[in-house]
Symmetry: C2
Subunit: 279 residues, 2 copies
């Protein structure tokens, strides 16, 4: 495994580090960040929480703005934050912020020109954990969480792979992308106009027919500008009711779509995951 | 007072807000940020902690990256973060990151072309608190803290105005700017080549002859790239010893100059200030 360390910062007695590696899945160089809690220096393997960011983000937004390190250090949980799309000069892109680079939507693209690099679903599901578990003192006890587009990604990954994740959570997820402008635009580009293929990447459609359950926590701000048009948590709630899915969905008066909202509730998410990761 | 609200985000039951106003001291429009803890909504005035950022920063860096809101909300203390220099198309600038915009060094410039706008010392000492105390439920119980160039600014403000501040703290301050390349370059430009005028803006020189004391806390990472050449905490320590100044200076193995270091120790600084602000 060829992996290059780009930076390191001590944080709450653990380490935040950025790495670059060549991804065979994505066919390009990729950067990711990891927070290793102090317990990872003792030789023991620590469980892993994978964070998926939202539109326009990189591996940096969560690490810098979510205020997650203190509680991760206390709980002894590693956090791994990949980038939100393939990167590089030869990677297809679009001028819009919600398509192309920074907007991979955690799907495996089937349509040209996107299919050459945009295989973020496989990257986050398989290649990245394989790499992380082979290089760091991080175990295969995994949970996944994310924000907005990354909340969509986290829910889809856990719903389709309940054997691989102990728990899933999301802040302000795009809960029903086949019915949101962001989702329709991205899925049309990446997956084509045959909307049947979209269902594999829609958390509400997946939850509705789920029979294997991964405990799920969702937090949503009620002053979120994107709530009604793009996020549609009510679709996820209705789906959970249909399948009896163990979903906890909290709404918070006054909170918006920003990292200030995430930071306010991040400790609750970390404790929720640690409870399931340590079983 | 003409003041325009630019943004608001709920955070830990309080509010992060950005404002723009015309500064008569700086002769230009300025932006600043404030975190108002939930206690500020009860009609009571809360004490105020002024944060001064380092080179290249704006009002945003601290609010987004320092993870300070949770403990500020618990303690009931407001945090006010000004920008690091005057701004605008007609404001003198330099291509370097350590002079001009983003690098005001919290001095009152006496040299052209800088003296037309670069009056950050007076802005932070007088105009900004006057504005804040007239517009927000924020009292005149003030403390001041900052990072790097802002740590220098905080120490200088408190040392020269002990009657205005209850306590002062700094992360990785430029402790002896008259002997650091950053300080020499900025002071030569803003204050001129007569180095006698520089002494009013050097925390170590001021602390050495101090007779009125503001309790002072400094934290410094030992893996900080700027430690030996630019920061020189040993000069501050020697000065405190000479005047008997109540300075607590902690060194931390492995920590660097970044906001990850600040976030790790921010709660200790907030509790230190709250203790003095609530007396």
């Amino acid at each position: 495994m060829n992996i290059e360390n780009l930076s390191r910062n001590k944080s709450f007695d653990g380490w935040h580090k950025q790495y670059s590696h060549y991804s065979e899945t994505l066919n390009c160089d990729m950067r990711f960040a990891v927070y290793l809690p102090p317990q990872a220096s003792n030789g023991d393997k620590v469980p892993a929480l994978y964070w998926l960011s939202g539109l326009t983000c990189t591996d940096e937004n969560f690490m810098q703005k979510a205020a997650a390190h203190e509680v991760a250090a206390e709980l002894g949980v590693a956090i791994i934050a990949p980038d939100t799309s393939p990167r590089g000069d030869d990677v297809a892109d679009d001028d819009a912020y919600d398509l192309g680079k920074g907007a991979g939507f955690y799907v495996n693209a089937t349509q040209a020109p996107w299919n050459r690099h945009y295989q973020m679903y496989d990257y986050v599901l398989k290649e990245l954990p394989n790499l992380v578990e082979s290089v760091f003192p991080v175990s295969d006890k995994r949970s996944v969480f994310g924000h907005s587009m990354g909340g969509h990604g986290a829910l889809v990954l856990a719903l389709r792979n309940p054997e691989r994740y102990r728990s899933v959570s999301a802040f302000s997820p795009i809960s029903n992308p086949v019915n949101s402008p962001w989702g329709k635009k991205a899925f049309t580009a990446y997956l084509g106009t045959d909307t049947e293929s979209w269902a594999d990447y829609d958390a509400s459609l997946l939850m509705q027919k789920a029979s294997q359950f991964v405990p799920a926590l969702v937090d949503q701000g009620e002053a979120d500008n994107f709530l009604a048009e793009q996020l549609k948590p009510e679709a996820l709630e209705a789906a959970a009711k249909q399948s009896g899915y163990p979903l906890t969905l909290n709404r918070h008066e006054g909170y918006d779509h920003s990292y200030y909202f995430i930071a306010t509730f991040i400790a609750q998410h970390l404790r929720f995951h640690a409870e399931h990761l340590k079983q």
